[in-house]
């Protein structure tokens, strides 16, 4: 029996995959989207009130990857033996239809334009010698101006709430003064400030900084997007990250794209389909289709396709390239190859501030994307010269709603007892009167921080696990320490009675046991040089031109902002060039 043929196969039913599926079906292509995990829909996953069961949701991690089937191995340095990541902690990849786009918080940034050309920008300002040895600082190969229409499109699809600063050259509002010009305003007004965000706003402003409302893909009003998909308004219940929003207010592929896609007869979504490899021709220059395992029947299936889109989670995209033989694996010793190169993360540290007992912070309310931030220490917005590091962090109060179990676990902050009446008092005091302030910063790429296939460990399907070699480096530790030190005066101005400022420490290795962030990036990055990037500026594989790899894997370094907005814009950008150029004449969009 011949293989089923389809115009395009998409791996992964998250944001990247769903955006590509929508764009390609609009272009008239037949599309099959394969998703490793189960079908997920709001009426089932989001059924109220079961959907806001914290034990089932954030604690037992219902919407996340099942590590008993497949995981990654992790080590800090190249001389160590990596061990499997067996319990979800440091980062939480999604699984099932919607992917990480179903369990995310909803912070929906664009990009700091200079982050897209960070190498050029740092050299222009501080000279090439400013870049430390071993740091692979690179440009994306695409500019903000080129991506702007796609940021705009994504915001309209996501129903993003925010306050603009500049639209078409005119200052229109009280938004982020560091943010670049926009072609249009946000589709929805900014989310209201929580109390904690409002006092941070005042204190930051008084300190001479420039606070702004976080752009949130949590709908501040009911909304119908350009696909006709509807959102309900957010009520600050706080069950965003780790949950399927029962109010249809948090943007997800499931709410904002799939309802329209599912009506298209040219579109097929196959859940429980674990892709084993992209099939290549003998010269390894063209993909012929994909082979996947139906995880229910345990049957291996095969599809033939003209175009293959990898839209899985960052490290799964890299893993699929490595096990399929797409491009040359990165070797840190000889400093050759590109697949696995520039694996990056983010530096995030959460500090806590306690206010007087007469001040109630109402931490039970919140929304994943709402809050107030300052960008005064992000990207290239400040003088790095005397500080001697590359990168930066936004600082924000992003009160996402503290749930009961989380409140009990986090009670008291560092140094307080973990049991007894002192613990109980600290729990009550912390829950009622404290607030969190985060430094959510960049993480640069280094020659000896990378991804490759583990020589020892295999997943249940018999394939080698992906190995992460990652630890914190001096540049990023010092950046984090500097930005956290800037929090202290703001916290004092807020009337702090106690604070627990948390930062990375010199020499501190990456520790997988505590949650940090799921914002992993790089490993199959975009760029303008096939020697140092796996993908060209259209996220097309330099080596296999009918494979496009969409996701944060394309980021040459970890930026201070949350990645989803850039992933969505890059997806629309790639789709635009596939539709307008590639489909007319398939082949490399950039000459190698």
């Amino acid at each position: 029996m011949g293989r089923t043929h389809v115009d395009a196969v998409i791996v992964g039913a998250g944001w990247a995959g769903s955006i590509m599926a929508k764009e390609l079906t609009e272009a008239g292509l037949s599309v099959i989207m394969l998703e490793r995990g189960p079908e997920r829909t709001t009426p089932v996953e989001g059924a109220y009130p079961e959907s806001i069961d914290e034990l089932r949701g954030a604690v037992r991690k219902r919407l996340f990857q099942n590590l008993s089937q497949s995981t990654v191995t992790i080590r800090n340095t190249m001389d160590q033996t990596a061990l499997p990541y067996r319990q979800l902690a440091a980062f939480l990849p999604g699984e099932g239809v919607g992917g990480a786009g179903l369990h995310w918080s909803g912070v929906h940034f664009r990009v700091a334009p200079e982050d897209l050309r960070l190498r050029s920008s740092v050299i222009e300002r501080y000279g090439e010698k400013f870049i430390p040895d071993g740091m692979n600082l690179q440009d994306y190969g695409v500019t903000y101006e080129e991506l702007e229409p796609f940021f705009d499109k994504a915001e309209k699809v996501f129903g993003t709430s925010g306050e603009a600063y500049k639209v078409q050259g005119k200052i229109v509002g009280n938004g982020n003064i560091f943010s670049p010009d926009r072609s249009d305003n946000f589709p929805l007004p900014a989310m209201k400030d929580t109390f904690s965000a409002s006092i941070f706003r005042d204190a930051a402003k008084n300190a001479g900084y420039h606070p702004y409302a976080l752009p949130a893909a949590n709908a501040s009003r009911q909304y119908t997007n350009p696909y006709g998909c509807q959102m309900g308004p957010c009520n600050f219940c706080g069950y965003c990250s780790g949950y399927d929003c029962y109010l249809y207010s948090k943007a997800s592929p499931n709410v904002n794209i799939l309802p329209a896609l599912r009506q298209n007869p040219g579109f097929t979504l196959v859940p429980n389909a674990h892709v084993l490899r992209i099939d290549l021709d003998s010269a390894k220059t063209k993909a012929t289709g994909v082979t996947y395992l139906d995880t229910k029947s345990r049957k291996e299936m095969s599809l033939s396709a003209d175009l293959v889109i990898l839209g899985a989670f960052q490290f799964n995209n890299v893993h699929l390239m490595l096990v399929s033989g797409i491009g040359k694996p990165y070797d840190p010793v000889s400093n050759t190859g590109t697949v696995g190169r520039n694996f990056v993360y983010q530096t995030i540290t959460s500090s806590r501030v306690w206010l007087p007992s007469s001040t109630y912070t109402n931490q039970f309310v919140g929304a994943g994307g709402s809050g107030v931030a300052i960008d005064d220490f992000n990207s290239m917005n400040f003088d790095h010269g005397p500080l001697g590091f590359v990168g930066g962090s936004p600082v924000w109060v992003n009160q996402a709603g503290v749930k009961p179990i989380a409140a009990a676990i986090g009670a008291g902050g560092g140094g307080t007892p973990r049991w007894g009446s002192a613990y109980k008092n600290a729990l009550i005091n912390t829950y009622k009167h404290s607030l969190g302030i985060d430094a959510h910063g960049s993480n640069m790429a280094y020659r000896d921080v990378y991804l490759d296939l583990d020589p020892t460990w295999k997943d249940v399907y018999g394939q080698p696990l992906l190995r992460m070699t990652f630890t914190w480096k001096d540049n990023d530790i010092r950046m984090n320490q500097y930005v956290v030190s800037r929090i202290e005066p703001i916290a004092r101005a807020m009337g702090a009675t106690k604070m627990n400022l948390v930062h990375l420490n010199a020499g501190q290795p990456f520790d997988t046991r505590n949650y940090q962030t799921t914002h992993l990036g790089g490993g199959a990055i975009m760029g303008d040089n096939p020697q140092t990037s796996a993908l060209n500026r259209y996220l097309q594989s330099w080596d296999v031109s009918n494979v496009f790899v969409i996701g944060s894997n394309a980021f040459p370094q970890g930026m201070g902002y949350n990645p989803t907005g850039v992933v969505a814009a890059l997806a629309y950008w790639a789709a635009h060039h596939i539709r307008t150029t590639y489909l007319k004449s398939p082949g490399p969009l950039v000459k190698a």
Partner: protein, 437 residues
């Protein structure tokens, strides 16, 4: 003219003629397809997941269970052997090909109004535009002697209008062509009265057209556990406060600023009205807006802030208020205004104020799902509460909603809820098709 050229020209002309004939046949098929949607044939004759129009939808009648028939052009299992005259007789007069009478679940008293032209288009569509499916619908489960069909003939003689009477009695009723078109669609193919008009003890609709008086579309008896509301201009329980745009949006997308679809109407919109042109939807809305209130005693609904103020002050002393705040207010809000057209308003919503609380109780018990429509793909879903709330709690919260924000309907007791549990509807016919979004 040389021969080959002449022949070529002749052939060309012949081909053109044939193409025109095919085009006009195609046009007739398409017209029939449109009318089949307007007549909502699929709601009763199609089962989700099975071939279109192959029948098998069950109907629970007082005397037993009947199934809709296969109306595909299959000669043995469907209607492939029907002539156009026999097809016309079945549709407009309720007479089967074998001469026996159809159960009036088939709305032939309404279809009696269909024009000859429309009958023809429907006939051509069901002959040429529908795939023949060789399956038989299940046998009706009506015990003898009730299974005998001959009494139906007397029913038909007594209560069903002849096509001649149906057409002549309504001819020239409206001078406004929009009203005339709306009346034709509502009274004829769309057969709205089959559910929304009251029926006599002998089961005939008490009024078949606007012409027959104010009982027409004044609200019907429960169907499948749902009580069809009035479509007339009553201020509180009818469409008095719905604009023409609200009605058009409701029929096109299942949702509007004044309410969202639930229950049996879901499939009528999914299979039927969403496929109509905006012009026809406006005609329907225009006509419905022309039907005067059948209840002149209703005082106009106005928003009352008492309950809203209480809830905003955390005063939960009203019966059912706490359950409302815990279970309902996240979407429908403490002010009862919801977030139209995502989460419908309960304040002033006619369904909340129906004298019969059956629909409201059943929505709370089994939940409700908006189907994915072409123009509105989101399947917004309210969860079921029958396994989370006791009968008393449901009675309390439903009573709360019926009394709040200016709503003025009667209280509901736990005993009422228990009674309603017996008629709790089966899953929406459309549910299987829509649960994904």
């Amino acid at each position: 003219m040389k021969w080959p050229l002449f022949i070529a020209c002749f052939l060309g002309m012949a081909l053109t003629a044939e193409a025109t004939a095919q085009d006009s046949d195609k046009a007739v098929v398409e017209k029939g397809r449109y009318l089949a949607a307007a007549s909502d044939c699929a709601a009763c004759h199609s089962v989700h997941g099975k071939p279109e129009y192959s029948g098998g939808v069950s109907f629970f009648l007082p005397m037993g269970k009947i199934y809709s028939t296969n109306i595909t052009p299959d000669p043995d299992h469907g209607i492939g052997r029907y002539t156009e005259a026999q097809f016309e007789q079945a549709l407009r007069q309720g007479i089967r090909r074998d001469g026996s009478t159809l159960y009036p679940a088939m709305p032939f008293p309404s279809y009696a109004r269909l024009t000859d032209n429309d009958i023809h288009a429907l006939f051509v569509y069901f002959r040429d535009g529908v795939e023949a499916v060789p399956v038989s619908a299940p046998k009706n489960e009506i015990p003898w002697p009730l299974s005998m069909r001959w009494p139906l003939t007397f029913w038909r003689w007594a209560f069903a209008p002849t096509p001649h009477k149906a057409i002549t009695s309504t001819a020239g009723e409206f001078t406004d062509p929009l009203l005339e078109r709306g009346a034709y669609l509502v009274e004829g193919p769309a057969h709205c009265g089959a559910c929304h008009s009251p029926r006599a003890i002998t089961m005939q609709e008490k009024a078949l057209t606007a012409h027959d008086g104010s009982l027409y579309l004044a609200g019907g008896a429960p169907v499948d556990g749902w009580t069809p509301p009035s479509l007339r201009q009553e201020n509180r329980t009818g469409l008095g406060r719905w604009s023409e745009e609200d009605i058009v949006s409701f029929l096109k997308t299942g949702r509007s600023n004044t309410g969202s679809v639930f229950g049996s109407m879901t499939s009528a919109i999914l299979h039927g009205t969403q496929k109509l042109t905006d012009n026809d939807l406006h005609a329907i809305a225009h006509y419905l807006k022309s039907l005067p209130s059948a209840d002149r005693t209703q005082t106009p609904w106005t928003y009352d802030t008492t309950i809203t103020d209480q809830l905003h002050k955390a005063d939960l002393s009203s019966r059912g208020a706490r359950i409302y705040v815990d279970r309902c207010a996240a979407c429908h809000r403490t002010d009862g205004k919801g977030y139209p057209a995502v989460f419908p308003a309960l304040a002033g919503n006619p369904v909340m104020m129906q004298s019969d609380a059956m629909s409201l109780v059943h929505i709370v018990q089994k939940g409700a799902s908006l189907p994915a429509m072409t123009a509105a793909p989101s399947s917004i879903t309210m969860p079921a509460f029958s396994h989370k709330l006791t009968d008393q709690q449901i009675a309390d919260v439903v009573t709360f909603i019926r009394h709040a924000w200016g709503n003025n309907a009667s209280s509901v007791s736990a005993e009422d809820v228990r009674q309603f549990s017996r008629t709790m509807p089966p899953p929406d016919m459309a549910d299987d098709a829509v649960s994904l979004n």
